[in-house]
């Protein structure tokens, strides 16, 4: 046994659904879309993260070196310690510069990719809107044309009526 609900007025149901779909988009996705548009133009999260990671990586590698040395009971001379400090500072500086530079490139690529996706989506929306507007304009023109045609028909009918009355009168007088 089917539990299908009978739809007696498909026209209204159709209109309700389409309106509901648009309202659903506004409610659930409009803010999301605006956030993405903003992100595609101004996001710097990769660069910010690269800067933070540089600091964390320096601390982490220092800790690794210290734990490893203590595990083997190794003792570094003051000169070795100074050399290690310098090497770490240099590596960190260079690493940080490279990481941030890479992040800038990755950020630009990510933002551009997102922006182009959004533009594609926007183009689709624009196309649909234009089609819809074109359709509405065509409907309005058809209505206007039908009205003009109806007016013309009405006028023609009136003249035909007057003509037929006149013709009847002439014929009646003639005979």
């Amino acid at each position: 046994m089917s539990d299908l609900i009978e739809v007696s007025d498909p026209d209204k149901v159709y209109a309700d659904i389409t309106r509901g779909e648009y309202e659903d988009y506004v409610k659930n996705y409009r803010a999301f879309e605006e956030e993405m548009l903003e992100k595609a133009q101004n996001d710097t999260s990769l660069i910010d993260q690269a800067r933070e990671d540089s600091k964390a990586a320096t601390k982490l590698s220092k800790g690794i070196a210290a734990r490893s040395a203590s595990r083997y009971g190794a003792q570094l001379t003051p000169a070795q310690l100074e050399a290690q400090k310098n090497a770490l500072r240099t590596a960190n500086t260079l690493g940080s510069i490279q990481a941030v530079a890479d992040a800038k490139i990755a950020q630009k690529e990510a933002n551009q990719g997102l922006l182009s996706d959004l533009i594609n989506i926007g183009q689709g929306v624009n196309r649909s809107s234009q089609n819809q507007l074109g359709s509405a304009a065509a409907n309005a023109t058809a209505r206007k044309n039908a009205y003009e045609q109806a007016k013309a028909q009405h006028k023609a009918q009136t003249y035909a009526t007057i003509g037929s009355l006149g013709a009847a009168a002439i014929m009646a007088f003639a005979f």
């Binding site: 299908l4 609900i5 009978e6 007696s8 026209d11 149901v13 209109a15 659904i17 389409t18 779909e21 648009y22 988009y25 659930n28 996705y29 999301f32 879309e33 993405m36 993260q49 990671d53 990586a57 320096t58 982490l60 590698s61 070196a65 595990r71 083997y72 190794a74 570094l76 070795q80 090497a87 770490l88 590596a91 940080s96 490279q98 990481a99 890479d102 992040a103 990755a106 990510a110 990719g113 996706d117 989506i121 689709g124 929306v125 649909s128 809107s129 089609n131 819809q132 359709s135 509405a136 409907n139 209505r143 039908a146 028909q153 009918q157 009526t161 009847a168 009168a169 014929m171 009646a172």
Partner: protein, 219 residues
């Protein structure tokens, strides 16, 4: 004359089609719409970035610190190399996570926008249906108006012709005094005269005069 026209009821096929479509739509809204919203929320969370960064960190440590040695502890460059490698790997993880997130978000938005676009074209379709109904109504009114006008013209024409025909009727009426020759009498627009010059008036006389139910011209 026919009875007043009634709106055509929808056919069984039309009703079934609309019912199935509505049921499918309801099913979609119930089962698929929440999934898209769930995907939207997932795309906004940093889960992917966290997973990829964890994996990058693990890979780096696995590669550079999984085989500790005394010799390594004496290498002053080692710590710097690990730090630099980690930064590079984390950067890659971040870039990939951002790519995945952007892809997910644009997919979600594209789908949502697609649905909205369908809604828009649906609106246009609904408007088209409304327009065609409005046109049909206007056309119907126009036809009724034309039919009324035509009927009025026919009735008016017939009345005019009959009136003029009435005016053309003549009869010879004997003077009331009974003296003198019969005088010619003419009919008026509303009343003809019979051969005896008498005005035809009253419904019965008019029907007899018209001969509609058989010959006769009595007054």
């Amino acid at each position: 004359m026919g009875s007043k026209p009634k709106p055509t009821p929808p056919s069984d096929a039309e009703k079934a089609s609309a019912s199935v479509a509505k049921a499918e739509y309801d099913y979609f809204k119930k089962n698929y719409d929440p999934l898209l919203q769930q995907m939207r929320d997932e795309s906004m969370s940093g889960d992917n970035a966290s997973k990829l960064r964890g994996r990058s960190n693990a890979d780096t440590m696995q590669a550079l610190t999984s085989q500790p040695s005394y010799q390594a502890t004496q290498n002053v460059q080692n710590a710097g190399d690990v730090g630099q490698a980690l930064q590079g790997q984390l950067g890659l993880a971040n870039a990939n996570a951002a790519k995945i997130q952007n892809q997910m978000q644009s997919n979600v938005l594209g789908t949502a926008r697609g649905q909205a676009a369908d809604a828009q074209s649906g609106m246009a379709e609904a408007a088209r249906l409304q327009t065609s109904q409005a046109l049909e109504r206007a056309r119907g009114k126009q036809q009724v108006s034309a039919a009324k006008m035509s009927a009025a013209a026919q009735i008016g024409g017939a009345a005019l012709a009959q009136g003029i025909s009435n005016m053309q009727t003549t009869g010879l009426k004997t003077p009331t005094s009974g003296v003198g020759p019969p005088q010619q009498v003419k009919g008026s627009f509303f009343s003809p005269v019979n051969a005896q010059g008498q005005k035809v008036s009253g419904l019965g006389n008019r029907i007899n005069y018209s001969g509609f139910f058989g010959p006769g011209s009595s007054v």
